[in-house]
């Protein structure tokens, strides 16, 4: 059956309303179970020993004393995991979860213990003797690419370069995008600016630390309960690492206390499974906050060179950038996404970007909400403001003049369909925020942002209960309102009330593979699949009605939750009393059994999304302290399925961006150790740091979704760094080029003046 996913304009009954979320009561009463809230009978406590060194070869590990400690049931090191015949990508995942011959960063796991309680497990960790040979380390991105820098991986030959380099370096990958001829473009410019920008390494900062319970049975099957953004991928990777069949490992996702990309990667899960296998008991392992910072998550630190040229009348003639992103010790970060998104907001004839992925002795870089885009946007959007200033044009008008539109060839390749950058800019220009008078020491800034949004594999089941209520079973986890959105979509499609639909997240044993909830794909891809499942069920419902009425199924339509007979030539059909979903469900046992629909898709055509943010700041020039006075997010959501949760995504992304812009940063000492692995010193915004965050949802339908849905979760973190940078630069009269713009940096910028 061909799947029709094209957008059709329609009036909605359920979609676009704002009902209460189905999992809400459990979450306000403390009943909802998150990763650490699950326990199994007879479970042991797991603990991980971590390297105190930024870079060291592991000479030997002696676990004998720990093993002899009373109450210790298992100790594992790298040798307890498969290494032979494993897929190299999996070996990299494993190496990050449990170091092999080398510890690559402060916090890298080297051994783990399972014991009868946490106290015993911690005591055992102290009894493990690891002999390290400390190696030279490098944590800074620009230091790491110098010829004399300590090599992280002797076998790292830059990929994406032809011919393949003969000398190893810390540059793991190079990617290039663009079109036209930038040199020609710069010739036409009246003003050309070149600058370097830097951004610090931030962490997703989810409040729930990683946690899991694993139970490996002697028959070779296992169960895992874990907080994750993608239990199917966790299953596939854990099974691969442990050398078991994926089908023998059943993974259940718990409620998740925030992820933002950080819970798309494995950390403690294969270790917990290995401990359970060795101890023959269920094992629970929960990271401490210190471990979360040292060993999970962070995004890249970057150094970005940008060059842009503009004519006096405000046409950007050429744009070029080299973007260098730290990747941690392994290849596989997303410098390329930075290179792809950098100039995606603009319609450019001549554009070129190069992304470099750089290995350093920091934890492996992980996806963080629109990974790699915010840093690129910080550099480019800061420069767009500076260009505007140089030619005496307003920042918003220069952006409007150069904005990409339908038909524009994107700087990363494809030609855009209907897109929202122009409309968000116009909305910003006309927004009341732009007219609010600024107070003393206050200034305004703006910036744009782009994110692709992903599609990917989704698989859903739709089951009609005997009473005519419906259950939609999905395999994408709910990071904050997806069950409500999916129930709305099903209610819409079936024509029944939202309250009669239950959305359930299946474990990996109950549904086909589903990709992660990442790339803003959860609602886009799973709603597409849910609609498809509903349509299959509706076809069956029409059959059943036709059977009851003894007419042709083609003469039955589905409308407002009922089967109706239409007169297509055959007279008299339309006199029949319509049959409701409940009627048909009740008689299902007589008409062919349970009614259900199923769908498996690879969702293509996720709609790209654009945002424009406006921000007012107040800078205290004595202390360098910045406060955010007013903040507005304008973003294209396609169709907002549940507008309240769309607003929530806009606000949450903006707040994370604000933290990154002003405060958040990994600070390394000369010894390569992380100096601020806690919420006290890695300070994320608190309630009193922020104003209300105003939102405006634009709805430019995605042509590739029946309801016009685009992804909404990520774009909101892209503009804030630059919007705030521009506001601060306007306030102090000095161009800020480094994030975070903490008080000492602002004071330094002022002093330089």
């Amino acid at each position: 059956m061909g799947k029709d996913t094209t957008f059709k304009a329609r009036n909605f009954n359920s979609v676009g309303t704002r009902p209460l979320r189905p999992d809400g009561i459990d979450k306000v009463t403390g009943r909802a179970r998150y990763g650490a809230d699950f326990s199994m009978p007879g479970q042991l406590q797991g603990c991980i020993l971590r390297s105190p060194h930024a870079h060291a070869s592991i000479k030997s590990i002696d676990t004998s004393k720990a093993e002899k400690l009373k109450g210790v049931k298992a100790v594992v090191t790298r040798k307890d995991f498969i290494t032979k015949d494993a897929d190299p990508a999996l070996l990299t995942v494993l190496d990050n979860c449990m170091a092999g011959k080398t510890a690559f960063y402060d916090g890298h796991a080297v051994a783990a213990v399972a014991a009868i309680d946490a106290k015993t497990a911690k005591k055992a960790l102290q009894l493990i003797k690891v002999e390290y040979k400390v190696l030279k380390h490098v944590t800074d991105v620009d230091e790491a690419i110098k010829p004399k820098a300590p090599l992280i991986d002797k076998k790292c030959f830059t990929s994406g370069v032809d011919p393949k380099p003969s000398k190893a370096s810390n540059i793991a990958a190079r990617s290039e995008f663009g079109h036209g001829d930038v040199d020609k473009g710069f010739e036409k410019a009246d003003v050309i600016i070149e600058r370097n920008y830097k951004t610090g390494q931030s962490h997703q900062g989810y409040i729930e630390p990683h946690a899991c319970v694993a139970s490996y049975s002697p028959d070779g099957t296992a169960d895992m309960w874990v907080c994750t953004q993608g239990h199917f991928d966790f299953r596939a990777q854990c099974a691969g690492i442990l050398g078991m069949d994926a089908s023998k490992l059943r993974v259940t996702s718990s409620e998740i206390g925030g992820g933002f990309g950080g819970k798309t990667h494995l950390w403690i899960e294969p270790v917990t499974l290995a401990l359970s296998r060795k101890a023959n008991r269920p094992v629970k392992l929960v990271m401490t906050r210190d471990e979360v910072f040292r060993a999970s998550g962070p995004t890249s630190a970057t150094s970005i060179d940008v060059k842009m040229g503009v004519t006096k009348d405000g046409t950007i003639t050429a744009a070029e950038a080299e973007l260098r992103y730290t990747s941690g010790p392994y290849a596989g970060s997303w410098a390329r996404l930075g290179a792809m998104t950098a100039f995606a907001c603009y319609d450019l004839d001549h554009v070129k970007t190069v992304g470099l992925e750089v290995l350093v002795n920091r934890p492996k870089t992980t996806a963080y909400r629109a990974p790699s885009a915010p840093m690129a946007a910080f550099a480019v959007e800061s420069m767009v403001d500076e260009l505007a200033e140089h030619i005496g044009m307003s920042a918003v008008d220069l952006r409007i003049k150069n904005a990409a539109k339908e038909g524009t060839r994107a700087s990363y390749g494809p030609v855009y369909g209907p897109i929202g950058i122009g409309p968000t800019l116009e909305a910003a220009k006309n927004h009341p925020h732009m007219k609010v008078k600024l107070g003393k020491n206050q200034s305004r800034g703006m910036a744009c942002g782009f994110w692709f949004n992903f599609g990917g594999q989704s698989c859903t089941d739709l089951n009609i209960g005997p009473d005519g209520s419906a259950t939609i079973t999905v395999g994408t986890i709910d990071v904050g309102g997806a069950r409500a959105s999916l129930a709305l979509v099903v209610a819409e499609e079936l024509g029944i009330p939202y309250e009669r639909v239950k959305a359930v997240i299946a474990d990996t044993g109950s549904l086909g593979h589903n990709d992660m909830t990442d790339g803003s794909r959860g609602t886009f891809a799973s709603s597409l699949s849910a609609i498809d499942s509903c349509r299959m069920a509706i076809a069956e419902l029409r059959n059943r009605a036709a059977q009851i009425w003894e007419i042709d199924a083609d003469d039955v339509i589905w409308e407002n939750g009922e089967a109706k007979a239409i007169s297509k030539g055959a007279a008299g059909n339309s006199n029949r009393e319509p049959l409701s979903l409940a009627n048909l469900a009740q008689s299902a046992h007589k008409t062919g059994g349970p009614i259900s629909g199923h769908s498996q898709i690879v969702a293509d055509g996720a709609g790209v999304s654009f945002a424009t943010h406006i921000c007012d700041v107040e800078v205290d020039k004595e202390t360098g302290q910045t406060s955010i006075v007013r903040y507005t997010v304008i973003q294209d959501a396609g169709k907002a399925v549940h507008p309240t949760y769309v607003e929530g995504q806009f606000q949450g992304g903006a707040a994370q961006g604000i933290g990154w812009a002003l405060n958040e940063e990994y600070i390394y000492g000369d010894d390569g150790r992380l100096q601020n692995p806690g919420f006290l010193d890695y300070r994320i915004p608190v309630c009193s740091d922020l104003p209300m965050i105003d939102t405006q949802i634009l709805e430019i339908p995605n042509p590739n979704h029946p309801y016009g849905v685009r992804g909404v979760g990520e774009t909101s973190i892209v503009p804030p760094l630059a919007a705030i940078g521009n506001a601060i630069s306007n306030a102090i009269g000095v161009r800020m080029t480094q994030v975070p713009m903490s008080p000492p940096r602002i004071l330094a910028a002022l002093n330089q003046e």
Binding site: G24, Q651, G652, C687
Partner: protein
């Protein structure tokens, strides 16, 4: 070496055994089964473990289980009256003041303590009162609105109660 602790938790007399150096957070979660109390940091920096101890708001990760002896503890699990949600819980739902919800128990307990002391707080007072609770998902906007709205409703109910009684 374990200690036996008796306290009143959410209105019930509860006894539990814990280690002398065990935090009240761990005791509540692992011994009493109140996993609505969350751990985000274990160092007093996130507020996810907020409870009240004899009416005072504390981070349960900074209190020892043994210190609960003879004292009154309230957690998120004790906020609703049977199937009737506390106005704060209801308003958190209505305003979508939670996304992932891991911070929600802490925010609810902290907000309840605030409104007991100050039934008519300004936005700024709410923001400062909740500055010890971290939320990474919402940007706080909807949380602050929910608390202000719940305060309004609770004032209304209190007034009605007075005129009726």
């Amino acid at each position: 070496m374990s200690v036996l602790v008796s306290s009143k938790i959410n209105g019930d007399d509860i006894e539990f055994v814990c280690e002398p150096d065990e935090t009240l957070l761990d005791a509540l979660r692992d011994r009493v089964g109140l996993t609505g109390v969350k751990e985000g940091c274990g160092t007093g920096d996130c507020g996810a473990c907020s409870i009240t101890l004899d009416g005072a708001l504390v981070c349960s990760c900074l209190v020892l289980g043994a210190e609960a002896e003879g004292r009154k503890i309230e957690t998120v699990e004790g906020m609703a009256d049977g199937d009737k949600l506390h106005p704060l819980q209801q308003k958190f739902l209505e305003h979508a003041a939670l996304q992932c919800g891991i911070c929600t128990p802490g925010f609810l307990v902290a907000s309840k303590t605030l409104l007991e002391k100050n039934p008519d707080p300004t936005e700024e007072e709410v923001r400062y009162a909740l500055a010890g609770n971290l939320c990474r998902c919402t940007g706080y906007d909807k949380i602050v609105r929910a608390v202000l709205d719940a305060a309004k409703q609770m004032r209304k109910t209190a007034k009605k109660g007075k005129t009726n009684g």
